[in-house]
Symmetry: D2
Subunit: 362 residues, 4 copies
């Protein structure tokens, strides 16, 4: 996280809150916001079970050094827009409650940066990876007009869709994807906590993740779609996915086979990915890595255990770019599912919004 | 293993030997032959390092109950056709030496049932899964004629190719495969012993297995090809593979996406696989499972840990048969890589040869 | 499981039921009883949530081939002595409900063979490993007298206590244990299903299992205690345990350091363990392995993955028996926690009771 | 690693070399020295097989970001004191060659900081953990006198002995250990690369590590011994160890049961460990963590996966301090085996030597 000065003429950080702060994704939001140069984490909200308790006591901290005592000692408050004062909220809520709660916050005039799936496919809700389709944030205006609220809901994508879209964005833009086959090997942290029972996954592969294939397929197309005249047009190519759970802690590995309108050679594809810098307006955002996309030459990489933390978990690593015998190209992509593919994605969305002036009223 | 009477008018079992008996695949041959109703394991052969020692002392037994003391106490002999008396030999030799050694045995008039890759793609060498293409054994005649030897080399296929071919054989026969995408998640036992270092694979996926993708692609086509007029014509469809290593002990899981000449619905495909019984002449072979191919209805199966031992490791389990958005069908197959996909494959080949009269002179 | 004739003059098997049949331990009872030569599984009972549904539908079958369709199709009934007709019930109930429910069954005149911890340390309740202390079953008479019921509760011990007690029984009897240090490395299946979250245990050791150390310490002493005059006198030596969870599926490994009254040499200890045959009256019980205790000479065994299924999961394997620099002996023991250490233990208890005539009225 | 100014009046960093630089421990030395404030890594030496090649090509980099290109491009040189110019060398050599090579370097006047076991137990060779027994470095003088060389050999201890000694140093000093029982659960990285085959350790515990128990027992006593009159007197208490390999990547967990001369309560022991600051002269050394020893209150910690990187891998974490039923105290310690327990240990030894003036002639 680079230490950029706060955008605009602001002197103080924006106050922010996390909804669903005690769960696995919530903890990642806490970690990323605990020492953020632009945002000041002023409130942690969670379910009624936790409300009223100190954050440190209400939370079974899963990974890495626990948050500073200033956060540990903060009282958990309810996920209620009447109780949360911060104008910007990050939502790590479970899909079961996210729909209703996020809408209430947006109606109450708050910016909701959500990891939940509920609104991702709504036509007027931006589904955004800043370097890939940051311009889709323009949907906020349509959203407000259509829904008649002052707040907004902005979503990050499904973890696998995010990894795939970062890897494919430069290729799709230049060569036009026609057909795409994806097979994922997904880490257990993608299922939250307690998540996948160890009896199910130790020494095993589970070739099924509920509802993951349709999410991956449809979100990919929205992410790689184009914004014009107040709406996003889906990328329109054909995509087919197999999703699998593997005994890996963090990092989704995705095998891809791709057919293009105008097929590049492997070398051209590599050069295109390496020279891609993402949407220029995202350069220098605090949690944006210098290289959102890295291509490795090592014959046996990317590997979850060895490459997942590239760019502090925000870089997608691609390898094994080679010709395909049926379509045009084969390659493998890897990214951090709980950082780039979840909390980190929404934090980066917020950072982009901070530079566009959208938060100025917040 | 069913206890069928010895075929033909034979009163005694055929004497057999294992070459490369101390390694991981060799141990599987030993296990499968230790108590075989038709074959009598009379000799164990290995490299010079082991020759002369007792088998039990020369071998680091990897799995399951160790072999009976009659085998433990047998002296390991050299892999030399002048030393091995058995007319039928199972080869678990490493590819580095298998080429030369197996040829020497064939020249010396012996039947070589090989797990090595060296001769698999030779036009006059049968590459056989009995239930799938047992009729390819007719190549033996061409082989003998062309090479001028009395012996023969018969090979089992690469482990992943075997699992895929069993699953696809009935579908290809009936609906004609046009395009095939495979992504494997392969167990560490496929790499032998010591094989994959634990530092590489614990909590990791390695998206690369040296030389595996071309082997899988080309062997599939030979396995599903047709024998006529003294030669095997390749199946001719297009196939593309990603192969990955995962932290699983036994069992290769394969995600498949398939395009057909004449596409079946998922229900038709399931029905076709369920009603498939394999080449009739293989029914009742001792190591043939009743069902070489099983289709599960469970939404999250097949799973390596839970399904790998179906049919004593000789059954391939298929699941998640569903429509594909780009081609026609998607499904997942799983099989035991060191049983069906290695030693068990060659033992079954030998059993089929025993019933055809090929061994009568042996 | 050997196929012994039904004891006594009985012509038909005893009808039995399983309480808590849908959970992980319950499934093990089902597996062991599905084809039992003496017991006929006539009823499966579980919580209200499952009652009324078919067993196959109410159960997420965790391991091995699912039970025969006769059991799959059986309706789950309530854990109520008024509903369960079988006179002999195996309890896989959770400790939260086991106390009340098991007492109700005993009061109703039924034999309860329990895996729950609730009654294990009651002075009038037998805590039994047949080969070790089958004579403690005589407590049943005291129990009935004291509690005024016609039924009975008989318990198997904690999984780790069971493995340790089988290994130590012959040594304690002959040389008198004075001090015992145990450090366990326990499999995840010991925590049931869903049990240990994979995020907690993949690539990790958790040096804590709630309430396990006191259970292990106190149950050991009761198991190795002596029955006389209607009561069991605790073994009385000092015992101290560390219990750890490791990423292993089945099999608890226990490192032991032992001080004796009359210390044997390692060779004497090995000889004593090897010549031990367990309580003579248990010889030939269907689920008793020929050797309840095996000592291996391999320098790096016992190993969970390789030795856990010895004797169909009923044999405890000991290795690395060596002199200790502080006390007298060090050694390592391993046993199957969900077979010998849970369901298999209670089934063996029932088999012993079947031969003593205790079930004759049942 | 804190950025302390170079000790003494030195203006430039000390030039150092790594012997055995391509292996697993060698890579850790490279990582720790690549950007060291006091040492300048000027040479990388390895076996003849690697000599002459670029370091980046000769090395299969195992973990974390690869070293800077300045090191990647350096030519590997031979482990020969006539070829290595640096006066200070870190040895990651295998024990098979370390004896001869390290002696040659010492004879040639060089300081050898060694991770090899060969000289650890020599009476005139310091076996040092700076915070624990940095004063043992005074043995160097005796070593030079006795051996007649200008160089010196200083060793770090076995990984498990290191973790145990850090945890026990403050307790032994204050309360006098009389009896100590240790059971380790050791990570696979302790066996180097390729090290433990995955087929051996996936889902398994191996209750044996060759030669580890005697090393752990005897090195503990030397580490906790006292230096006086030119020699180290062993700590003299009784110690007994079980050592096990578990499927963990990094971090050795050690269960300890301790008897003392003058037993503390658990609270006193915790207070003693928490107030311990290690040898004062080590305060501020660049790789010394602020807290070499941390005691956690969490009931289920320390855990390898979650605590191994405390203090950049240099902090030992202790937990579960509780009364013992047989001796006095039980507790669990965890430390990073390849950092604190290997390369990091020798780097810290070198840092302490840099401040004592020992390196001034170098």
């Amino acid at each position: 996280m680079t230490n950029q000065p706060i955008p605009g003429k602001r002197k103080t950080k924006w106050p922010v809150a996390v909804l669903g702060a005690t769960g696995a994704v919530g903890q990642n939001f806490i970690r990323l916001l605990a020492d953020h140069p632009w945002f000041d984490l002023v409130e942690v909200a969670a379910s009624e079970r936790s409300a009223g308790r100190k954050y440190g006591e209400a939370t079974r901290w899963l990974e890495g050094p626990p948050p500073p005592s200033s956060i540990q000692n903060r009282r958990v408050i309810a996920c209620d827009p009447g109780v949360v004062s911060a104008p910007i909220v990050f939502s790590a809520l479970d899909a079961v409650v996210a729909g209703e709660v996020e809408m209430a916050f947006a109606k109450a005039g708050k910016f909701v940066l959500s990891n939940a799936k509920n609104f991702r496919m709504e036509p007027d809700v931006p589904l955004v990876i800043p370097e890939v389709n940051g311009d889709h944030l323009a949907l906020i205006e349509c959203q407000r007009k259509r829904r008649g609220w002052d707040g907004a809901i902005v979503t990050n994508a499904n973890c696998s869709a995010t990894v795939a879209a970062v890897a494919l964005a430069p290729l799709h833009k230049r060569y036009g994807i026609k057909q795409l086959f994806l097979t994922t090997m997904q880490a257990v942290s993608g299922a939250g906590y307690p998540g996948v029972p160890s009896l199910d996954i130790l020494g095993n592969v589970i070739p099924y993740i509920a509802d993951e294939e349709p999410k991956l397929e449809r979100e990919m197309l929205k992410l790689l779609g184009t914004f014009a005249d107040g709406e996003v047009t889906s990328a329109g190519f054909k995509v087919s996915a197999h999703t699998n759970r593997v005994p890996v802690e963090h990092g989704h590995t995705i095998c891809m086979t791709i057919g293009f309108e105008d097929a590049p050679s492997p070398d051209q594809a590599i050069e295109t990915m390496r020279s891609w810098e993402g949407l220029p307006s995202t350069a220098g955002l605090p949690t944006r890595p210098k290289h959102p996309l890295v291509v490795t030459d090592a014959p046996d990489r990317p590997q979850a255990k060895r490459d997942v933390n590239a760019g502090n978990g925000m870089t997608v690593t691609v390898g094994r770019v080679r010709r395909d015998a049926v379509l045009d190209l084969r390659m493998v992509a890897l990214g951090h599912n709980t950082v780039r593919g979840a909390a980190g994605g929404s934090v980066l969305n917020a950072e982009l919004l901070a530079t566009t002036g959208d938060f100025d009223s917040a």
